[in-house]
Symmetry: C2
Subunit: 387 residues, 2 copies
């Protein structure tokens, strides 16, 4: 599995001239657009399955985790919401997460809370007996039944960085602060961006390169890029997810709580709320803060309604501990890809044309993303092998 290649190069800013490889027309075998966790994981797994391929990873931001969907992902590995058929892929992903993250992957209890008894539930008071701070978050009369699931938490941004750094050590090149546009025929336009004294982002220089294989790993933006630039229509969609802050105290050992679709993830000594995704957002929707009986909030209306519906079961949601914000900018949020347009879809990859693949993470990327990236890397290795 070890590559004999020297480490890859990193172009972080336009002060470093972009001088790829020896063949100015086609210096790379593979171009990966987007260094979120899916693109970074693909870069790494390609060095393992196809070490002879020379790969360039291109990222519009200044770090291999700059995109919102990776930074704001919950970072919870759990099979609690997956069908049995996906558990093998999830287990495989967990082993990979252990290898890559080490102690940054933390085992943590994950409790689903229920109105009615269900298979394997116990009384909520019993199951949370050892966690009085967690028990204080909820009304055990409203959510009397609970079930414990295995879970591990981590920072998806860290995962993207670790994967990208490992790939670079094994020969992958990384081009940061660069906007990439795919074109038919394996051509990609690269616009290297810089910031002026007046804080405008401008294009410093443009490069056009060719590659036999291009992978769109730009998350929620990828389906629109496929359609606008390559003319390939897909049914993938996206949803804007906000992750508001709940200022209730949590410890390192506090369990993740999940009730009626809402996840409460202990983080930074408090909680990050991960609301349910019920469906795609329509094409052309611009996220905006809502109003609750006239009061403007930074939370979008649909999320606000879900939280209001949970206030009886989770009383802290009805207090000022819930950070509602005054406008959209006050609440962390990002566009999340929904593979196939479905809110419960698992990560996927898809061939778009002779030169281009699509790689999408989505809502289950925490638990299955590495497996899907690895699967695409194996496919690419097989394809190239057959050529």
């Amino acid at each position: 599995m070890t590559s004999a290649r020297p480490p890859g190069r990193v172009w972080a800013h336009v002060g470093q001239p972009f001088t790829p490889g020896t063949d100015p027309q086609a210096p790379y075998d593979v171009l990966i657009l987007g260094a979120g966790r899916m693109g970074s994981a693909l870069a790494l797994t390609l060095t393992e399955h196809a070490p002879h391929l020379k790969t360039l990873l291109v990222e519009e931001g200044g770090l291999p985790n700059e995109d919102g969907a990776t930074i704001l992902a919950p970072g919870i590995w759990t099979t609690a919401h997956l069908p049995e058929s996906q558990h093998g892929a999830a287990r495989w992903t967990l082993e990979r997460l252990r290898d890559l993250l080490g102690d940054d992957l933390q085992p943590r209890p994950y409790l689903t809370l229920h109105d009615q008894p269900a298979p394997n539930t116990q009384p909520t008071r019993d199951l949370l007996g050892a966690h009085p701070q967690s028990l204080a978050l909820l009304d055990p009369e409203a959510l009397p039944h609970a079930r414990a699931h295995e879970a591990h938490t981590y920072r998806p941004g860290t995962l993207a960085q670790v994967a990208a750094q490992s790939a670079i050590r094994r020969g992958t090149d990384l081009l940061l602060n660069t906007s990439a546009t795919p074109h038919p025929g394996g051509r990609v336009t690269l616009e290297r961006l810089t910031v002026t004294n007046t804080h405008q982002v401008v294009t410093h220089d443009i490069h056009t390169i060719h590659a036999p294989l291009i992978v769109l790993a730009t998350g929620a933006h990828a389906p629109a890029q496929a359609e606008h630039h390559l003319g390939v229509h897909t049914r993938h969609a996206r949803a804007y997810r906000q992750t508001p802050h709940l200022a209730a105290p949590s410890t390192e050992a506090a369990p993740v709580l999940h009730a009626r679709g809402l996840t409460l993830r202990p983080q930074h000594g408090a909680y990050t709320l991960i609301p349910p995704i019920h469906h795609r957002d329509p094409h052309g929707y611009a996220p905006q803060g809502g109003h609750l009986t006239g009061v403007p909030t930074g939370l979008r209306r649909e999320t606000l309604e879900d939280l209001v519906g949970l206030m009886d079961a989770l009383p802290p949601l009805a207090t000022s501990d819930l950070h509602l914000g005054r406008s959209l900018a006050d609440i962390p949020g990002a566009w999340l890809a929904l593979p196939g347009g479905q809110p419960d879809a698992t990560p996927t990859h898809q061939r778009l044309d002779d030169h281009t693949h699509l790689l999408l993470g989505g809502p289950h990327a925490d638990t299955l993303g590495l497996w899907t990236a690895d699967e695409l890397a194996r496919n690419i290795a097989g394809e190239v092998g057959r050529r």
Copy 2:
């Protein structure tokens, strides 16, 4: 059931001074805001269940069916998509439709088309044997199984007009071209609108009146009015539904066809397409035309995707017979209320405060709307009786 009242008055334009009743403070017992089919039906049923109440029906448009959701409703009575528990209310509604519409209510076959055999299905070729024009619309290999349901078609705009006219004959007053704003405490502001020589809609005069009972029957706008003006938050939502035209020939006897959520309704010698509603549209969404691999269309993206997914089974959708338009204005469309935020919810009414009720039709108003309006009228008659 006959009222001794003289017929009600109609104020159609600002040239007619609005001089309601004898008590200038509270000239009416009931104010109904919105003369779509739900508001008009409520006005009529109130004259039946509570003939002693004096009602004013207020409509922002110039006719009691001017609102898009009524005019663009499919006008198909059928129990094909309703649970058994709703069939009694649907049957009752059908009898009412017969009374009100007479020959304008037409029995018509309604065929659900299926990929797989299901209870009571027959071969599609057999069931459509008598309708070669309908059979030519579809690929019987892709949709080999069909089931016939009872259905009746009518024009919802006609229903609203007939109901409002009947109510007026029985004593209800009607105020047209008037924008109404409800306030707490049973107060309503009425702005009578007129059009200037330069085609601007302006307020001509403003009246404030009180009534013991106010009913918001403004369709998809009602939940926002409840919240903004009365401070009452609800979970009702809305979706923007477009009903594109398919220029395939149809006869008076042609059956309604329903496949994978899409309804093809014979109308005006061709077909009106009624796409499925999958979910609410988010708060703040502005409808807009989509792009299909770069080509602008007047159809919203989500609807376009549903139609593209049906092109194999319904080949005419892939031809120029389908009117795609170039911009939103080219395709008939309207906001539809979704009671409880659910796309499959039945019509509903709800008490908002001491003075105000909400009355919502939504996707099943064709089959159940009159029953729900009648139920609210009976409730109001009972309430007033107890006072």
